[in-house]
Every structure is written in C-alpha cells, then in structure tokens.
C-alpha cells in the first residue's frame, strides 16, 4: 500500500530519529500528543503491521463475526462459507457507509443500511438493488466487493491480519520472541474463548498503555493498595529477579522470572499434581507448595519443552508489536486500540483451556474477572497515570522535557544460552520499554516494508 500525496508525512527520517534517543534513554513527549505523528502511526505502524483480530474459537460457526480495528480502520472479522476467516474493511464500496453496525453476531450477508448493497461473507458484492432498472446492468459487481486484508494468518489459533501485501509471513513477523509470548498461553492446551470482550476508553496515548505492560517499576507503587489487601502476592513482583527478551520488529517479553529453586520445585510436580494445586484457593495452595503461590495458573510441564530451560523461568509480559499484550499470567489478551493521539480503547479477551476441570475453571475465572479490565483490582489504578503522562505533553513548556527511560541503561548483559536463546537477567529495568520505542522509531522512519526489513535493529548482543 503506498502513501498518498495527501498523506505525505510532515516529518523526515532524521527528525523522526531524534524523538527516541537510544543512547541516552530519552523520549520526546511530542510522540504522545502530536496529531501528525499519530497520522503517521496509523499509516506506517497499524496499516503495515500484523494486527490481532481474534481467536478461532470466537468464530466457531459459519457466519459468526465480530468487528475489530486495524488502527482506526474498522474491520469485520467473519467465518465464511468455506470456514475461512475473512477480514473485511467495514465500509460500503458504494458511499463508504459503515456496513455492519453490530459488534458481533451471526449473519448470512452484510446489508448496507443506506442503499442496500449486500455483501457475502467473503466480501463479494452479491446484492445490488436496482441492478437492471437503475444501473442498466452496467455496474461490474465483481469489481465492487469489500476491501479485504492483504493477508490473514493464524498462529496457535490466534488470527492476525495486515493490510500490507509486502509484510512478511506472520511466523516470520512474530519471530522467536513473539511466538514464545503466544506459546506461554498456548502451552496449557487448546483454548476456548470465554464469551465477552471487556472494553473501556482511557484518555491516554496508546503507546503509554503498551509500554506500561513492560514496566515492573510501577507495580509497587501504582498497585500498592491491591498488594496491601493481599490481592497480589508480593513475591509475584520480585523486583530483583527479572528477565527480558527482545524480538525483532519490537516484540518483547519482560518481567519477573522464577529462581532456579522455584523452577526446581515446579519441575518436581507432575501435571496432575499441578492441576490439583490449580483448583485450590491461593491460601490452600500456599500451605502445600509455598514457593509457587504466586503463579496462577501453574505452568504445565510442556512449557519447558516450548520455552527451554531458561525461557521457562520468564514470567514477564509479552507484547506483540504494536499493541497486543499476552497477559500470560492467566489466559487473557489485551489490545490497546488507538483512538486519536489522546485516547485509547482497552479490550480484554479471555480464554480457558478446554481440558480444565470445573474447579480449575472457577479459580482461573475468579482471577481473570478480578485482576484486569476497568474494574480489575490492578488495572483500575493504571488509567489515570497513563492519562496524565500523556496529557502533560500538551503543555508547551512541559513538552520540551523528555520522558526518562534510563533505568539500567548500559548496565546489563544480553546472555545467550546454547540454544541461541537470548535474554537479560537482571533487576527491575527499562530495557523492554527502550526496545519498544527504538523499534517504533524504526517503523516510523521506514517508508515501506522492504525498507523496514533492511533497517530494523537485530536483537542486541553484549552490553545493553
């Protein structure tokens, strides 16, 4: 997809590069508030990236659909007659009207409520009122279907779409780190979506919401009330035991890691013993397995095969660039959907492993309904921090001062295990956030996918 003259970016490469100072760990506040930078993001990040759409179990039946977003482009995600997942731009080819007004449902066709142009589940124009009498049979319906995503692919049942035909395959896009992030959730077996996507709006820039998921510095302060009432086990935070993995194109996994001792205790448990512990309350479990109280649900033994002896100890949050958080502490995904530079919609998708016992389901659901989402014991305290970290950038003087992401800059080592897996083992840090912005800057500087492929940073080695 080429950038049109009307949308020619107002900023050149050097200027874009100056917003993210990798050497000094400084971020220009303008990137959170400038409408022109936001327009560039829609073009060069969202219209180009692989965007998460849904899980296969969201659309079990032919005709099942949900409406989602790629940047600000609304799309219909629908299972067609051939059981393929189609991603269709939700705009009538006639006058651009929004076609599908519901956010989910089941249908045989999509009828435009304006003039009645009707589309099949694969996006083809199948109904044209007045075809003969008004159009005199002259409109070539084969040319006026809905715009489809350039590519739709899935990994472990998670469907992604891109509007850029030059994008690499989803597999290559995710790379090792992106795939590991998804594997962390998939390792529990086949997942089935729990009905209901939580949605709320926060007046913050989407990037602030994204980088926060890699920020384990805020937890002790922002979420102190949740910790005080015993909702979050303090040992979960482990500020002195952190692992960060960085992936090409901006994917990251960052956060706590298990100690060798904790992993050894876990290794000693069979999968059925793990399932039994999973069905217990936090208190009951603490008595039986004191070292693993903070892990919920307990990781199955196959996680070690998937992630390797080092990766399996990573308990942090994966972000699939640009905006998909794999909340792998349980079975949830969170999308941070941009709504202008100063607003973000937060969507929470929730899953359960198909093979879970009723007791396991109950405990997992309890955890998931009470942690995140707007009423979540953790998330309710995040939004205002994000709002005001964004909004302060509107001040003309405040905008001159950069955000500081200097924690642990140059203090750590990228370790490589014999399998080639790279990670940083350290204390609380800002490596993940710096990497996210560094890659974001590269996305914005590159005019095409080919250029991005050439210019993207490889995963760093050595001192970091």
């Amino acid at each position: 997809m080429s950038e049109t003259a009307a949308r020619r970016p107002p900023y050149g490469k050097a200027e874009i590069a100056s917003w993210v100072d990798n050497e000094r760990g400084l971020i220009d506040r303008n990137i959170y508030v400038d409408p022109e930078i936001y327009e560039m993001e829609l073009e060069r990040v969202f219209a180009r990236a692989w965007n998460f759409m849904c899980h296969e179990s969201h659309l079990p039946t032919v005709g099942d659909y949900l409406v989602s977003y790629i940047g600000e482009d609304q799309v219909i995600v629908v299972r067609d007659e051939d059981r393929l997942v189609q991603v269709l731009l939700n705009t009538c080819a006639h006058r651009g009207n929004q076609l599908c007004r519901a956010e989910m449902g089941n249908t045989k066709t999509f009828l435009c409520p304006y003039h009645g142009w009707t589309y099949g589940l694969d996006g083809k124009l199948v109904g044209l009122p007045g075809d003969e009498p008004y159009y005199r049979g002259k409109l070539d319906v084969s040319q006026w279907g809905l715009q489809k995503a350039a590519k739709v692919e899935s990994y472990n049942g998670l469907y992604f779409a891109t509007f850029d035909a030059n994008a690499p395959s989803l597999h290559d896009y995710l790379g090792e780190v992106g795939r590991l992030g998804i594997d962390q959730m998939s390792a529990y077996g086949e997942l089935v979506a729990v009905d209901g996507i939580q949605k709320n709006v926060i007046n913050c820039n989407w990037k602030i919401a994204v980088d926060n998921l890699l920020d384990w510095y805020h937890v002790n302060v922002s979420h102190r009330s949740a910790m005080r009432v015993g909702y979050v086990n303090n040992s979960m935070m482990q500020p002195r035991q952190q692992m960060v993995m960085l992936g090409e194109y901006g994917h990251t996994i960052g956060g706590p890691m298990l100690s060798q001792a904790q992993q050894a205790e876990l290794d000693a448990l069979s999968d059925s013993e793990r399932a039994e512990l999973d069905a217990l309350s936090i208190e009951e479990r603490a008595k039986l397995a004191p070292r693993i109280t903070e892990r919920r649900p307990i990781r199955p033994s196959r996680m070690k095969d998937l992630m390797g002896p080092v990766g399996v100890r990573a308990m942090g949050h994966p972000n699939i660039f640009p905006n998909l958080w794999i909340a792998s502490r349980a079975f949830q995904l969170s999308l941070r959907i941009p709504r202008g530079p100063l607003q973000t919609e937060i969507w929470w998708f929730t899953f359960l492993p198909k093979d879970y016992t009723e007791a396991q389901r109950r405990v997992a659901m309890k955890f998931m309904t009470h942690s995140f989402g707007p009423a979540g014991m953790l998330e309710q305290d995040d939004g205002e921090n994000w709002t005001f970290s964004t909004k302060s950038g509107l001040g003309r003087v405040a905008r001159r001062r950069p955000h500081n992401l200097q924690m642990a800059l140059g203090e750590d080592e990228m370790l490589e295990d014999p399998s080639g897996q790279k990670r940083i083992e350290t204390v609380v840090n800002e490596h993940g956030q710096r990497w996210t912005y560094r890659c974001w800057s590269e996305w914005l500087q590159a005019r095409t996918w080919d250029e991005l492929r050439q210019s993207r940073s490889p995963v760093p080695t050595g001192r970091i």
């Binding site: 729990v194 009330s225 009423a375």
Partner: protein, 183 residues
C-alpha cells in the same frame, strides 16, 4: 390503583401493606445509595447478605435477530462477578491510603428511580429499577453510568438486606478510565 401482589404468601396483602413495602424498599435503596456517596463503605457492606451476588455482565451492540447475545451470561466474562468477600476486599482496598483511582476520592451521586417490585418469594423481594451513577473526579473527569438493576432484597431479622445486585449498563464500551466505584 392496582398493585401487583405476585407471590405474596397468602394473597391477602392489603393495598396499604403493599404501599408500605414499596416505601420501605425505596427508603432502603436511598439509604444505601447515600452510604456509597458518603463513602461509608463499611456500613454499606453491613447491608449485604453473606451470599450476595454482585454482577455486571458485558453488554454488546447486536442486531435484533442476535439480541440473545446482548448480555454475557453467568459464567461468561463480566465487569463485576463478586461475592461478599470480593466486595469486602474492594472496600478494604479503598481505605488502604494507596488506592489511587479513588484518592483523591471521586464525588459520586447514586440515583435510583422506576423502582418496581417484580417478584416475591418467601422472605425475598425482587426489585427492578433504573439507576444513574454520576461521578465527578479530579479537575474535569465526568462519568455517567446509566442502566437497569435487578436487585433482590431479603428480610433478615425484620430488616431488609441486599442479597443480589445485577447491574445492566446501557453502554457497550465503558466510557470511563475505570470502574473503581461501587454501584
């Protein structure tokens, strides 16, 4: 006037008794609304039975022929799916001194109207009502939560207590930073 006496135990309830019951229920609802507005959360908890189910399902924009999908069902995802213990923890969180979403505190006003007795079963009375929860926060945050509630009250030792609160909001995307207030 015709007041429904559905489910009343012996069917012999007089109109006056029904009016008094309506009055008693409304007074109960106003009182607990005021307790929430005045941040008397502990006292509010005292009005709930130990087996309360406090639940706010997710509402979706759907077409009429998919209207059965409008709300998530019990067991599906929800914004609130709380027991008394969960609500007690929420209240404990609010008074820790570190509950930033409510410190400085939101200024709330809980309105209830259209109070209708929809069912009677022994000591339990089902009540449907319309609510409007207004929240003013910090310098310029203004939130409105509007919808229908299906409450159930139980007479315990002569006094009314809340044993169910099912909250059906009218919005499908929560137009607020969070739901750190109680409904």
């Amino acid at each position: 006037m015709d007041f429904p006496a559905r489910g009343s135990r012996d069917g012999s309830e007089t109109s006056t008794e029904r009016v008094l019951l309506q009055f008693e229920i409304e007074q109960f609802l106003y009182r607990e609304a005021r307790l929430l507005d005045e941040r008397c959360f502990e006292e509010w908890l005292g009005l709930l039975t130990d087996d309360i189910h406090y639940w706010m399902p997710i509402r979706r924009t759907v077409t009429l022929d998919n209207i059965d999908l409008e709300f998530t069902k019990p067991g599906g995802m929800a914004y609130f799916d709380d027991t008394k213990t969960d609500l007690t923890v929420r209240v404990e969180k609010l008074v820790t001194g570190f509950s930033w979403a409510e410190d400085p505190p939101s200024r709330t006003r809980h309105f209830v109207s259209n109070v209708e007795i929809t069912g009677r079963d022994g000591d339990e009375i089902s009540v449907a009502l319309a609510f409007h929860l207004y929240r003013s926060r910090l310098e310029s945050v203004t939130d409105h939560f509007v919808g229908r509630r299906e409450d159930k009250l139980r007479r315990v030792d002569g006094a009314l207590r809340l044993c169910r609160r099912h909250i059906f909001c009218d919005h499908t995307v929560v137009r607020a930073t969070n739901l750190s207030v109680l409904f």
